[in-house]
């Protein structure tokens, strides 16, 4: 019998709760949110499996929790991870903030010492993109370059995080070393799976450090994302950006024998739905409810470092999240 504490029931957290409720081996879900009405709505949806708890990161974790699923806004997840480390409970977090992921990676020694697994960046990108990169790497003898692109935000908090990422100086791996980019490059046109199609993407730093940790041999790693629409058009936008389509595209270059080839994978769907499914399945991995999809070791890592990619993708496929491969010819 496994008990999961779900913290944060926003656009992504609510979907993650539904995914946890549909996972065999997870028998009890404790739902915590600063808005009691949202937590209660999810509890009603999940039925007898769920109960709401009043909890904040300043308090110790409720007793009997086997894993924590954190869907708090990016940056707010760090105190929760520290609380989980102190309680010795594994945690998966969906935060995509560059600074908070860097802070989590700095907690690696504490996580190793306490024997706790921390899965950082369990969303669309970072998250599913890491799994796709790991899947692409299985086709190659060596990995030289990884280029991740992302379109879409899960909800208002995710949109704010994405806006912040676009205003910060991004990081990228050049020559095998993680560097801060002093001058932001121009936009690049990226082709995502339909219906998202072609979008202009700008360099951001979300998830680069996690990919660098999982693929230390890659000489170049970049992450790009579509910048959210300006606020001035807010009146004409839909109320819930989570209803919008989101997509990720992962281009991995490597060698098969002497030939240098790319492998391009992608996925498209509702951003919050994909992120919620990834967070739900990652939390199920932590409690051992889905042993075939991988096993988390103590320490702070991204999904690429602990999953069996094809089993993880198969599990997502069963939940309606599909992945695609770009097949085409180069035109120089």
């Amino acid at each position: 019998m496994s008990t999961v504490l779900l913290v944060g029931v926003g656009a992504l957290g609510a979907r993650a709760g539904r995914q946890l409720g549909a996972t065999r081996g997870i028998d009890r879900i404790l739902v915590a949110d600063r808005r009691a009405d949202r937590a209660e709505a999810l509890r009603k949806f999940l039925g007898a499996k769920a109960e709401t708890v009043e909890w904040s990161a300043r308090r110790p974790l409720p007793p009997g929790v086997d894993a924590v699923a954190c869907a708090l806004p990016a940056g707010d997840d760090v105190p929760l991870v520290i609380a989980a480390l102190e309680s010795g409970v594994p945690i998966a977090t969906s935060g995509d903030n560059q600074e908070s992921i860097a802070t989590l990676l700095r907690l690696n020694d504490e996580a190793l010492a306490s024997g706790v697994a921390v899965l950082a960046g369990c969303g669309l990108a970072p998250g599913l993109s890491d799994v796709l990169a790991a899947h692409a790497a299985t086709l190659l003898d060596t990995v030289d370059e990884i280029h991740v692109s992302r379109a879409g935000v899960a909800g208002p908090d995710s949109e704010a995080s994405m806006r912040r990422l676009h205003s910060e100086r991004p990081h990228e791996v050049i020559g095998g070393a993680l560097n801060e980019v002093r001058r932001r490059s121009t936009h690049e046109l990226i082709w995502f799976p339909e219906p998202v199609g072609d979008k202009e993407c700008e360099l951001i730093g979300a998830g680069v450090a996690l990919l660098h940790k999982s693929f230390p041999s890659a000489a170049r790693i970049t992450v790009r994302a579509v910048e959210p629409e300006p606020r001035s058009t807010g009146w004409f936008r839909r109320n819930d950006p989570g209803d919008n389509w989101g997509a990720t595209r992962v281009e991995v270059w490597g060698r098969i024998g002497n030939a240098r080839v790319p492998v391009i994978y992608g996925s498209v769907g509702r951003t919050a739905t994909i992120g919620g499914a990834v967070l739900g399945v990652a939390t199920a991995l932590l409690v051992g409810a889905l042993p075939e999809i991988g096993g988390a070791q103590p320490g702070v890592t991204g999904l690429a470092g602990c999953v069996v990619p094809e089993a993880f993708l198969a599990e997502l496929d069963r939940r309606g999240i599909t992945a695609s491969k770009f097949e085409g010819v180069p035109v120089a």
Binding site: P262, A314, D317
Partner: protein, 73 residues
């Protein structure tokens, strides 16, 4: 037009003029040698880039195929 210095020319025009012609010919051959070296170096560099370079181009025309099968490839 450049002319190869010859004994006949030197005897006809005098030693001074023949020296000028020889000097021009030497300059011309030096420029020719330099341009030859530039061409050879460029050819070698081009061949190296062509053979050793990472000049692969990502596919740009094509489509997305949903992953399926036991290995999701």
């Amino acid at each position: 037009m450049l002319r190869r210095p010859s004994g006949r020319l030197a005897s006809r025009n005098g030693p001074m003029e023949s020296c000028v012609v020889m000097l021009k010919a030497m300059r011309a051959s030096r420029a020719f040698r330099r341009s030859l070296i530039v061409v050879v170096v460029a050819a070698v560099a081009g061949a190296l880039v062509r053979v050793q370079g990472k000049g692969s181009v990502a596919p740009t025309i094509g489509g997305w195929r949903q992953l399926s099968g036991p290995h999701f490839r």
